[in-house]
C-alpha cells in the first residue's frame, strides 16, 4: 500500500530582513498556499505550525498562533520543533494524520523573525545545556562547526577555497530569478575568496545569513485531491530519522562524538542515513531524482550533501561542482532555488521552503531557474540534536 499523500499547494513570503512579527509571514504564506491549492481556509482540518524559539509564547504554540491569525475555523492544531528540521517534522505530522484517516486537508506553516549575526543561545547561566556551554567554554559558533567539515574536505579530498566559492557562485546565479530569494545578485569567485575569513577556511560569503521568511504547504489525502480534481504532486517520503549509536561525526552543539569503544559505527553516517531513509520510503534512488534542495549552511556543506544524498561517492563532490553537473542545465541541479546562499536561514520555514521549490520545479513553473523535465526532487537537511530531514516529491 502506498504512503503517498497529495501535495496540492505551496506558498511563501519573500525572505528578507523585514522586521515584522513572524505570524505575518506565516499567514501570508498560508494564504498563498491555499490559493495555490484552490482550497478555502474553511476546508482545512489540521494546522501544523513549525515552532520558533525566539518569538516568545506565540512561537512555542505556532500551530495555534497561525490558526488564530487565520481566524479560528475549528481545525485541530499541532506544533512541531526540530531545529532546522522543523518543517519536515511538521510535514510528517500532517502526513501521518492524513494517512491515519483522521483528516483530509492539512496546512503546514513555518515562519520566523531572526536576530542579526551569529545565532547565540538564550540568556542566563545554564551549565547543564550543551548549547550554552559550547559558547562559554569553547567560543564555538555554528560557523565553527561548518568549518570543521570544510577543512576535512580540504585535507582529505584536496578541496580548495575556490571549490567552495564555486558553490556560492552557482547558487547566486540560480537565485537571480527567484522572487522569494533575499539576495539576488551575481557573485564572482574572487569576491567570495576576498571576503573576510570567519572561521578558517570559510569566508563570510561561504556562510549563510539568517533571515525572516515564511513558507507553507497544503497536503490532502490522495482521495480528496482526486474527488476535488486538484492537480496534485505526490509526497513520496518524509524522512525524519534520528542517528544510530554511535554517532561518529561531531555535531552542533556537542563537545564530543559518541564513543566507538563498545559498539562499531554503522555503515552509514547519520547524514547519509537521512536521504537513505527517504529513498527507501519513496522506492526511488539517487538516479531517479532530477534535482535536490540541500542545506547549504556553508558552501562546503553543500558538497558534503552531494555525497550524503548519493549523487557521487565520498571525495567526488568537488568534481561535480567543477564540471557544472549541479548547475541548472547540468546532470542533477542542486539548489536551483539559490539555496540558503540566496535566502539566508529562517529556521522553522526553511525545510518547507525547500519543498516549495521542489514543487515549483516539478510543475515546470520555476521561471528563470527551471530544471527541464523534472520528475522527482529530494530535499535534505539536518537539525540540531539529531533531527534528520529529507523529503521526496514526484510528479
Amino acid at each position: 500500500m502506498s504512503n503517498d499523500v497529495a501535495l496540492v499547494g505551496v506558498g511563501m513570503h519573500p525572505w528578507g530582513k523585514w522586521g515584522r512579527p513572524f505570524q505575518s509571514y506565516g499567514v501570508h504564506a498560508a494564504r498563498a498556499a491555499l490559493a495555490d491549492a484552490g482550497l478555502d481556509w474553511s476546508d482545512v482540518q489540521l494546522v501544523v505550525g513549525g515552532e520558533t524559539v525566539r518569538n516568545g509564547y506565540a512561537g512555542y504554540v505556532a500551530g495555534a498562533t497561525f490558526a488564530q491569525a487565520l481566524g479560528w475555523n475549528g481545525a485541530r492544531v499541532a506544533t512541531a520543533y526540530a531545529a532546522c528540521a522543523t518543517g519536515a517534522q511538521a510535514l510528517d505530522t500532517a502526513r501521518a494524520r492524513i494517512l491515519a484517516g483522521m483528516c483530509d486537508v492539512a496546512l503546514v506553516v513555518g515562519a520566523d523573525t531572526t536576530p542579526k549575526g551569529f545565532l547565540a543561545p538564550n540568556a542566563g547561566e545554564r551549565y547543564d545545556d550543551p548549547d550554552w556551554l559550547r559558547f562559554r567554554l569553547l567560543g564555538m559558533t555554528n560557523p565553527a562547526y561548518f568549518a570543521l567539515y570544510a577543512r576535512r574536505r580540504m585535507d582529505l579530498y584536496g578541496a580548495t577555497a575556490a571549490d567552495f566559492a564555486r558553490v556560492k557562485v552557482k547558487n547566486a546565479r540560480h537565485g537571480l530569478a527567484n522572487p522569494y530569494a533575499r539576495y539576488r545578485k551575481e557573485v564572482a569567485l574572487d569576491e567570495v575568496m576576498a571576503s573576510p575569513v570567519v572561521a578558517d577556511p570559510l569566508h563570510l560569503l561561504d556562510i549563510c545569513a539568517t533571515s525572516d521568511g515564511g513558507a507553507a504547504v497544503v497536503l490532502t489525502s490522495s482521495e480528496f485531491a482526486r474527488s476535488r480534481g486538484l492537480p496534485a504532486l505526490r509526497l513520496r517520503a518524509v524522512a525524519t530519522v534520528a542517528p544510530t549509536f554511535p554517532n561518529t561525526v561531531i555535531e552542533m552543539p556537542n563537545f564530543a562524538t559518541d564513543s566507538t569503544a563498545a559498539v562499531a559505527p554503522a555503515d552509514l553516517t547519520f547524514r547519509d542515513s537521512i536521504a537513505h531513509a527517504a529513498y527507501e520510503e519513496a522506492g526511488l534512488g539517487p538516479e531517479d531524482v532530477s534535482l535536490a534542495e540541500v542545506y547549504d549552511l556553508s558552501t562546503a556543506l553543500e558538497l558534503d550533501w552531494y555525497e550524503n544524498i548519493g549523487l557521487c561517492k565520498p571525495g567526488e563532490a568537488e568534481q561535480l561542482v567543477r564540471a557544472g553537473d549541479t548547475t541548472v542545465g547540468g546532470r542533477v541541479p542542486v539548489n536551483p532555488s539559490g539555496g540558503l546562499a540566496c535566502f539566508g536561514e529562517a529556521v522553522p520555514a526553511q525545510a518547507l521552503a525547500q519543498v516549495c521549490e521542489v514543487a515549483w520545479q516539478l510543475r515546470g513553473v520555476a521561471e528563470g531557474r527551471q530544471v527541464e523535465g523534472a520528475q522527482a526532487g529530494i530535499t535534505a537537511n539536518q537539525g540540531l540534536f539529531g533531527h534528520g530531514s529529507s523529503v521526496i516529491v514526484s510528479v
Partner: protein, 172 residues
C-alpha cells in the same frame, strides 16, 4: 599559567596539574566512554548499564579537523582580551576511547600549525577572568612537534605552561 588561584571554568570536566586530562565516565557493563560525563544510564542502546567509573581520557590524540574564530563569539563567551584576539579550535580523535573531542587550541598556535591527522596533547590554560578577578581555566589542544608524536613517552617537559605560551600570555 594557571596559578594557585586559577580554577576550572567548569567543575569536574578535567584535571589540572602537570599532566592534566579530561574526565569522562566509562560504563562498567559495556565499556562505552562518555565525555562530558554520563552517570545515570548508559547510552549504548544495547546496554542496560547504570554504573560508571570515572576515567581520565587519553592526553594525546590526532586532529580530526580544526578551525578558528576570527570574530569574537557572542555571549556567554567571555573574551579574555580587548581588543579581541582570534583563537583556534580543534576536534581531536582519541583512539583508545573511540571519541572525537572538541577543544580550543593552545595559546600561541593557529590553524597553520595544524593538519588533519596531526598529533596534539592536552594542556590547561586560562580561559577568562571572572567577576571576582579569579582566573578560570580550560582544557586546550597543543600541537606536538612532527615526529615526537605518538611516542607517548617523555612528554612531561611539554606539559601545561610551556615557555612559549606563558610568554605570549604575559604580553597581553
Amino acid at each position: 599559567m594557571a596559578n594557585g588561584n586559577a580554577t576550572p571554568a567548569v567543575d569536574g570536566w578535567f584535571t589540572t596539574g602537570d599532566r592534566p586530562a579530561l574526565l569522562g565516565t566509562r560504563c562498567v557493563q559495556c565499556g562505552t566512554v562518555f565525555f562530558p560525563r554520563e552517570s545515570s544510564f548508559c547510552r549504548n542502546p544495547g546496554c542496560a548499564g547504570e554504573r560508571f567509573d570515572e576515567v581520565e581520557l587519553s592526553r594525546r590524540g590526532r586532529v580530526w579537523s580544526y578551525t578558528d574564530a576570527r570574530y569574537q563569539p557572542p555571549p556567554p563567551y567571555i573574551a579574555r582580551t580587548d581588543p579581541y584576539e582570534p583563537f583556534a579550535l580543534a576536534a581531536v580523535e582519541l583512539e583508545a576511547e573511540g571519541l572525537v573531542v572538541m577543544g580550543q587550541v593552545a595559546d600561541g598556535f593557529g590553524v597553520d600549525d595544524l593538519t588533519v591527522g596531526a598529533p596534539v596533547e592536552l594542556v590547561v590554560e586560562p580561559l577568562y577572568t571572572d567577576d571576582d578577578g579569579a582566573t578560570r581555566t580550560i582544557w586546550r589542544w597543543r600541537p606536538l612537534a612532527g615526529d615526537g608524536a605518538g611516542t607517548g613517552a617523555g612528554d612531561d617537559s611539554s606539559g601545561a605552561g610551556s615557555p612559549g605560551a606563558t610568554g605570549e600570555e604575559g604580553s597581553r
